[in-house]
Amino acid sequence: MSIGYAIDVRGLSKSFGSKRVVNELSLRVEEGEIYGFLGPNGSGKTTSIRMLCGLLTPDEGSGTCLGFDVRTQSAEIKKQVGYMTQRFSFYEDMSIRENLDFVARLYAMPDRKQAVEASMEGLGLADRAQQLAGALSGGWKQRLALAACMLHRPRLLLLDEPTAGVDPKARRDFWDEIHRLAGQGISVLVSTHYMDEAARCHRLAYIAYGNLLASGTPDELIADSGLTTFAVQDDSPALADQLRKLPGVEQVVAMGTLYSVSGQDGELISQGLTGLGNLRFAQIDTGLEQVFIRLMDKVEDPAQ
């Protein structure tokens, strides 16, 4: 038994037909930690999460989730895990209160009515209690889903792209809520495509085409990437191609009125930029985005 780990799995693999969707995934999530799960579309994030909560049976590998075996004790895991699906999976023809009441009954909550009211209060859903879930906008649906998967006070939250299609304000509120929960000792595994969200995680794992490519704290990942980044103050369209051709430059991103140029060898890039003439540039912090683009470029899609 792994004490201190909310999730501790080794070598999890899953294939659908001949396609290996997850390949020997090993993952450790400490209790009270927000663990970010990143990777391109179709990289196996959802499949991994489903294996953790017993929705899919792993072909290979073993491990525990909240101390319960992921292969044999999925019934126990389901009782203590809150799983938020990528696609909204509550009943659209039922109101917020009816949906939450249904969930509370399934978990046989002793103080059901108060629990439902409290969770609606906590996430600001109380005013909309009677509204049908199907009539809610994206942000409110996510809130309902979060309220529902939090209702039975789980020890672990598995959130599958919880903020896809949600506006920035709602996203920030959502993440504030997640940090509050983590502060209470709840562990969170969350998959996302947003870099600002990745930066708010305690630790990150990057998975592509079923393989775990890197893991660590955001700072560790940035340091490990060895990238140096410069901001170039010029927005002429012709410059992008010139910048890409410079020796040592791996990524050029146009961002409004400036270009961000990154590469492994900072010295070389700096010389190249100086050589282009009167350009104003300065070294800036490398972002997670550059790190992940680099990781993605390094692996090839086996399907291609």
């Binding site: 929705l55 899919l56 019934a75 389901k78 799983y83 699906t85 999976s89 509550f90 399934l106």
Partner: protein, 378 residues
């Protein structure tokens, strides 16, 4: 101004429809399967003129004349002579269960009265709960009394052969003396309506979860598959009972259909039948990938139920293979139960032979459904 229809756009839609049709295997199978099934059933299985109906003869006379009459009954093709039960009462019991369609009783002094020209009467009791099943046989009988003894009445008796018939065949229509079709159709409708609605509603109940994506959530909750299945069946049992109440009330007040037997017993049998149909719906919903497919499967099941159960066409008119298929359908047994209780006033003893097949059917289907139920998204 240009013509609003463009060939390439029209063609794009046509192609898209074909691509989608090809992806939806079950729909495609139904498109071919339904007409094929209808053809086979209507072409081979259905016969509105049932022959060789099971008949028991109690010949107390045992004379050449009575034997001649029985032989001519057999020759008409409508009557199939069974070994008679020990007593007439036992034969009537068999009629209540539905094993015997006709009972012919020939009185002991039949030949004596016949020879004397006293025009004796023999009794033919018919199970008339389904008028359509007995109608042609009874019509055939009507002409038999004139021709049956043609060859026996020779010599001095020849004068009996001409003129009015030498004997009288009295027909007693049991259970439905006036031969009212509604008496047979209305109880039958109850079964068909329940089959249709129950299977369709439960069939769609589970696929709706799959189609709307709520299944993923449902599977992630700590809930046992049996809890889900039974939890989804129970509400529809109540719906089924409401339908039964509506049908019975209407049958009683609009069509004056009698309820000869016990109503609580009828209700108990309805419960078994409802459960049997709901398990079929549940099983379908574990196979179907969309509500549309569940609906199609319902029709695929409903069609033979209608045609082969004895609801629309006499069961005994069908060939052996169709009767075997029909015996596998819950509606067949339920029709016999309902008609038995409502028209014949059957009790448990006469009803049981049609109850246990329902229970067997239900157990088998429930097992298949449970095995197929998705516990994971694998």
């Amino acid at each position: 101004m240009t013509f609003p229809l463009a060939w390439h756009r029209l063609w794009a839609i046509v192609l898209k429809e074909f691509v989608q049709m090809r992806r939806d295997r079950i729909t495609f199978a139904m498109m071919v399967g339904v007409p094929l099934m209808q053809l086979v059933l209507f072409g081979y299985a259905i016969n509105t003129d049932p022959k060789r109906l099971p008949t028991m003869v109690f010949d107390a006379d045992q004379s050449p004349y009575s034997r001649s009459f029985v032989a001519s009954l057999e020759n008409s093709g409508y009557f199939d002579m069974l070994t008679p039960s020990p007593t007439v009462a036992a034969a009537r019991e068999a009629m209540a269960i539905g094993d015997v369609q006709f009972i012919v009783s020939i009185p002991p002094d039949f030949s004596r009265q016949l020879v004397r020209g006293e025009k004796p009467a023999l009794l033919l009791e018919a199970d008339a709960s389904d008028p359509a099943a007995t109608g042609n046989a009874l019509a055939a009988l009507a002409s038999l009394n004139q021709s049956a003894l043609q060859h026996d009445l020779t010599g001095p008796l020849a004068k009996l052969a001409s003129g009015s018939p030498p004997f009288e065949a009295r027909i007693q229509r049991n259970y439905n003396p006036e031969g009212i079709t509604q008496y047979n159709i209305v109880p039958g409708l109850m079964g068909t309506i329940l089959t249709m609605t129950m299977i369709m509603m439960t069939g769609m109940a589970m696929t709706r979860e799959l189609e709307r994506g709520t299944l993923e959530n449902l599977l992630a909750f700590p809930v046992h598959p049996l809890e889900v299945m039974i939890g989804k069946i129970l509400p529809y049992i109540i719906v089924g009972y409401i339908q039964v109440a509506v049908i019975l009330t209407t049958a009683h007040f609009l069509f004056q259909v009698p309820i000869a037997g016990s109503l609580p017993m009828l209700m108990a049998c309805v419960l078994i039948f409802l459960a049997a149909n709901l398990t079929v719906g549940m099983m379908f919903s574990t196979i179907a990938k969309s509500q549309m497919q569940a609906m199609q499967m319902t029709f695929f099941f409903f069609l033979p139920s209608m045609l082969l159960s004895g609801f629309m066409f006499p069961f005994r008119g069908m060939p052996q293979w169709a009767q075997i298929v029909g015996s596998g359908l819950p509606l067949t047994h339920f029709l016999r139960i309902v008609r038995g209780i409502m028209l014949k006033g059957n009790g448990w003893v006469e009803t049981w032979p049609n109850v246990w097949p329902l229970l067997v059917f239900m157990s088998v289907v429930l097992l298949i459904g449970f095995k197929r139920y998705r516990r994971t998204l694998d």
